[in-house]
């Protein structure tokens, strides 16, 4: 190749790279970079949309207030972390279990229908799920209380009104919605294990735990970890399920950080304070994602 054509190709290539990336970059700058900078700027201001006055520079007052637990923001974060850890753990354990069971049922009659039924909860509109679960949980009209009383003779349980139960009742709905997702990820992970290696393991008469640890885990862990990462991110953001069910109540028992943020930003219109909280949340989620991606990459390299 002549030097001329190489440089032409390079030019061409540079242009191509740019042309291919341009649309996504444009989206990214307009809908992510600019708003994020806006958010960052506002977080140092006192600004309420309903005060009728322009933003007033506030220094780090908002962050100081966060540190000193204004509006009980640390309580919200604590509840949210518990929600993420317990919720994602339950969903992962149950989801992986179901995934293995369905994996072994390739010849099951109506398997595709059964899986579709299983996956339905995660495509249900969350706003409707929340509203209807409030009804299902209702002590007077709800089906669940009727069922439990009939089967186990429990008295009437006020799932969403009792502060020691409400949090777990909401968490249970989240698990109902998202365990199927982890099942889906497990099935995908198991599908990524090469058949030849599985057959070899069978010929070598490896026991099930050995097969899992030596063959399946090796190939499937990346996808499973991705599933856990996606669930962690989404559980951290839980909002539209809670709003129709409890609106954060009773008291503050189900007030997750997204619920409080929604209230502060779009009910009270405290844009300055909300920006500061958002910046904090952004830092937390970047940290969480970095840890996950670090683990993923390390495992991938090690494997």
């Amino acid at each position: 190749m002549s030097t001329n054509s190489i440089s032409r190709a390079l030019d061409n290539r540079k242009f191509l790279v740019f042309a291919l990336l341009a649309p996504v970059l444009a989206f990214f700058i307009v809908f992510n970079t600019i708003p994020t900078l806006w958010l960052l700027g506002l977080s140092f201001h006192k600004f309420s949309l309903i005060s009728g006055t322009p933003p007033e520079f506030f220094g780090i007052r908002n962050f100081q207030d966060i540190f000193f637990n204004k509006n009980n923001i640390w309580g919200d974060l604590r509840r949210t972390f518990l929600f993420v850890v317990v919720g994602v753990s339950i969903q992962t354990v149950l989801g992986v279990l179901l995934g293995f069971l369905f994996w072994g049922s390739k010849d099951m009659p109506g398997r595709r229908v059964a899986l579709t039924l299983l996956f339905t909860p995660m495509v249900l509109t969350p706003i409707a799920t929340g509203t209807f679960f409030r009804f299902i949980y209702d002590p007077t009209f709800g089906a669940l209380n009727f069922l439990l009383s009939g089967l186990f003779g429990t008295g009437v349980i006020d799932f969403l009104g009792n502060p020691s139960i409400a949090y777990w009742a909401v968490l249970a709905v989240d698990c109902w919605m998202w365990t199927p997702f982890m099942t889906l990820m497990t099935l995908a992970a198991l599908g990524s294990v090469p058949k030849a290696e599985l057959e070899a393991a069978e010929i070598d008469r490896l026991s099930w735990p050995q097969r899992v640890s030596m063959v399946i885990w090796h190939h499937g862990k990346f996808i499973l970890m991705l599933g856990i990462l996606l669930r962690t991110i989404d559980a951290f953001k839980t909002l539209d399920l809670i709003i129709p069910m409890t609106k954060g109540g009773p008291g503050q028992t189900t007030r997750l950080v997204a619920v409080e943020l929604n209230k502060q930003s779009f009910e009270s219109f405290n844009m300055g304070w909300s920006s500061a909280v958002s910046v904090l949340l952004l830092l937390i989620s970047i940290a969480m994602t970095s840890i996950f991606i670090y683990i993923l990459n390390r495992r991938r390299k090690a494997g």
Binding site: L49, I50, S51, G52, K70, N71, N72, R134, D138, P139, T140, F141, V156, D158, L160, G161, N162, P163, S164, T246, K247, G248, G249, P250, G251, Q252, T253, R255, K263, F266, E267, S268, F269, N270
Partner: protein, 496 residues
């Protein structure tokens, strides 16, 4: 795109209830369909908009009957405007539920948008809408329009729906729906001789069964009624009151009890909350309200307006404290002969006993960014709304007007079953509204958290919950610059 104003609002549930109104038709109030009072009008006046076509949008509260009534009656205004002013107007309707309507209105108005020209606001939002200049100040308009200079039924109406700041002269809204608390009572139960006999035997007093009985009933005796009808084995409970975390549901009855017992919630002049709200007496009011949960169906801590309607219409409760505005939903074709609507109980003993309940209801407010044509139509619309004929038609359809002329009409009490109780509660001193301050939604949110936290037992002591609320509200008002004093040192220990 917007909704036809002539659509059937909400669900098909409203239609059958129209049968209710047949009773009122017999009272000589009927026959007032739109046509007669249009014909009455003479030749068209000259109007700057004559010959034009205008599209107006109303934002109202989703599923709230008085809001949808306002909308359903708007075609009558279209006929009226065509006839009298010579322009064509069509109405679109957008809606959001109570808890979200302010959010919907504010996010739109902040863009100086004309998306909604006329808004049905909840009374407490007046300050938050007025302060940033989103809605039009009405003083001048009222001064120029004779039709808008009405004689309102009581000062309560003016203070609740029109003025901000409290005690000032600025007017920002005009009443669309008047609303007070009322007690809905199962007539078939309280009039049952067997029940009356058993009640007499058990408590040594007559079972209150008439409007007058309830007018004189105090909370102590009301508690007996609740206790008497609490029969879980029969699927019947004594009462349903609101305790829910959503919007202002727990706040309204709780503040009513505090006020009726002589307590207060803040000083609207200085913005002082601490020391006024968190008193031992108000804590007692909370303890009392919580103790009533035992007369209510399980799950009552989640009751709001809608849940109350469900348990009431399904016949699960003997009494229900509910807004007068949802009468049409509370009284269905199935139970219409079994309902008595009366004033809610007084608090205190003997002559001293009094009742001060929360006001409900909504004013009309006008988008300040309306262009001249839309503003003109909006003002024409208000002029039409307060015509005696329109007001009467509104009442007949189940709405609650607020002007003295309509309410003083001797036939008014019998138009709807709740009218008498509504009018009774609208008398001076029997009802009041809480804050109209722009930081209303924030103050409400902490209050709702505090109240429900105590009601559900996640905070042990009422005083502790009150301290938390008072400190938080003091901080909010101080941050806003409205309160001269910040929270006291004691507040560092306040938590739920």
């Amino acid at each position: 795109m917007t909704v036809d104003s002539g659509r059937r609002a909400g669900s098909g549930l409203i239609m059958p209830r129209r049968t209710l109104l047949k009773g009122s038709a017999a009272l000589g109030l009927s026959g007032l369909v739109s046509a007669p009072f249009i014909n009455r009008l003479h030749a068209q006046e000259s109007h700057p908009l004559a010959g034009q076509k205008i599209e107006m949008n109303i934002l109202g509260i989703a599923g709230w009957l008085p809001s949808s009534l306002g909308v359903k009656m708007s075609p009558m205004f279209a006929d009226f405007a065509k006839e009298k002013y010579g322009y064509d107007v069509t109405f679109g309707f957008a809606e959001a539920p109570f808890a979200d309507l302010f959010q919907k209105a504010a996010t739109s108005l902040a863009t100086k948008s004309q998306e909604y020209n006329i808004i049905i606001s909840d009374s407490q939002w007046l300050g938050a809408l007025a302060k940033p200049g989103w809605i039009l100040k009405l003083n001048d308009i009222i001064a120029k329009n004779k039709n808008l200079q009405l004689d309102w039924y009581s000062d309560t109406v003016v203070n609740t729906y029109m003025k901000y700041p409290d005690g000032g002269e600025d007017i920002w809204g005009l009443p669309q729906e008047g609303d007070t608390k009322a007690l809905y009572v199962r007539k078939d139960l309280v009039e049952d001789p067997k029940e009356q006999e058993a009640f007499q035997a058990k408590y040594g007093m007559k079972l209150p069964s008439t409007f007058e009985d309830y007018e004189n009933l105090n909370a102590e005796d009301y508690e007996k009624v609740m206790e008497f009808f609490t029969r879980p084995d029969q699927g019947l409970w004594g009462a349903a009151w609101q305790y829910s975390r959503v919007y202002d549901f727990c706040t309204c009855p709780q503040l009513s009890i505090m006020w009726s017992r002589g307590g207060d919630i803040w000083d609207p002049k200085t913005g002082q909350v601490e020391g006024i709200l968190n008193t031992e007496d108000n804590a007692k009011a909370m303890e009392l309200y919580k103790s009533w949960l035992k007369y209510m169906p399980p799950g009552a801590t989640n009751y709001g307006i809608a849940e109350e309607i469900d348990v009431w219409t399904q016949g699960k409760v003997a009494t229900c404290l509910q807004w007068a505005a949802v009468g049409l939903a509370m009284i269905t074709p199935e139970n219409k002969d079994k309902v008595l609507v009366v004033p809610p109980p007084k608090f205190g003993k003997g002559e001293e006993a009094k009742r001060v309940y929360c006001m409900g209801g909504q004013p009309w407010v006008l988008n300040a960014y309306n262009d001249d044509a839309k503003m003109r139509v909006a003002i024409d619309f208000l002029n039409w709304w307060y015509q005696p004929e329109t007001t009467l038609e509104y009442a007949k359809r189940g709405g609650n007007p607020t002007d003295k002329a309509t309410l003083s009409n001797p036939d008014f009490d019998s138009i709807n079953p709740w009218n008498r109780a509504y009018k009774f509660m609208l008398e001076p001193g029997r009802s009041r509204d809480f804050w109209h301050h722009p930081r209303y939604s924030e103050m409400l949110a902490v209050q709702q958290e505090g109240f429900t936290s105590y009601m559900t037992g996640s905070t042990e002591s009422a005083k502790q919950a009150l301290d938390y609320i008072a400190c938080q509200q003091q901080q909010i008002l101080y941050d806003d610059g409205f309160a001269s004093a910040g929270p006291s040192d004691a507040c560092s220990a306040a938590s739920l």
